[in-house]
Symmetry: none
Subunit: 117 residues, 2 copies
């Protein structure tokens, strides 16, 4: 099997850095495709394709405005990622992380060298 399709879910869609960049721009407000082309410095077809992926997973919405198509962020679709991270949030939001690092080091020192030669 190959990798899961980029349109499988938000996780896969957002794995691509370019698509995250697009979302970052759209976070500033609704934008036509050519704005994204200019800002990101990508070729127009590439941008349209990325937008299609983002649209298929529901992370962006479109509406027609004359000959332009205005893309809009729908951050709700990113919530599953945030929800998944909830489980791990503790590791970097509390002071436990410092303790964990220390413990980890001690542990590795203890086990790491089994006496090789």
């Amino acid at each position: 099997m190959a990798r899961a399709a980029t349109t499988t879910d938000a996780f896969n869609a957002v794995a691509e850095a370019r698509r995250r960049q697009i979302l970052d721009v759209l976070a500033g407000g609704e934008r036509p495709v050519n704005d994204l082309v200019d800002v990101l410095g990508l070729a127009q077809p590439q941008v349209s394709k990325h937008l299609r992926v983002l649209r298929e997973v529901g992370v962006v919405d479109v509406r027609n405005a004359g000959r332009q198509r205005l893309y809009r962020l729908n951050a709700q679709a990113l919530k599953p990622i945030h929800d998944w991270l909830k489980t791990y949030e503790r590791s970097w939001s509390e002071r436990f992380d410092q303790l964990d690092v220390v413990l980890d080091h001690l542990k590795q020192k203890e086990e790491g060298d089994g006496g090789d030669e």
Copy 2:
């Protein structure tokens, strides 16, 4: 070009559902590979390969314990994902949604007519 390597960063590594499952199990504590094999119902080589990807992006650490290799979560490596989501978090927080509505109203009023009424 093909897709970015799964080992490019945490975003790509975690895009695969199986690898997220592995992390979810490891969230419960350090585990040897065979535990993961049993819990996930995957073939052992597949699990080892997934673990390698997770290790390469720093999301898990290993230590040797006899003939076993104990894998341990390193959630710190997931922080970049969480940080990136910070920008969008606002969208699914109900409190801010309400606030947005209020702010929009105020803004429209302000722009609509300059003075008090």
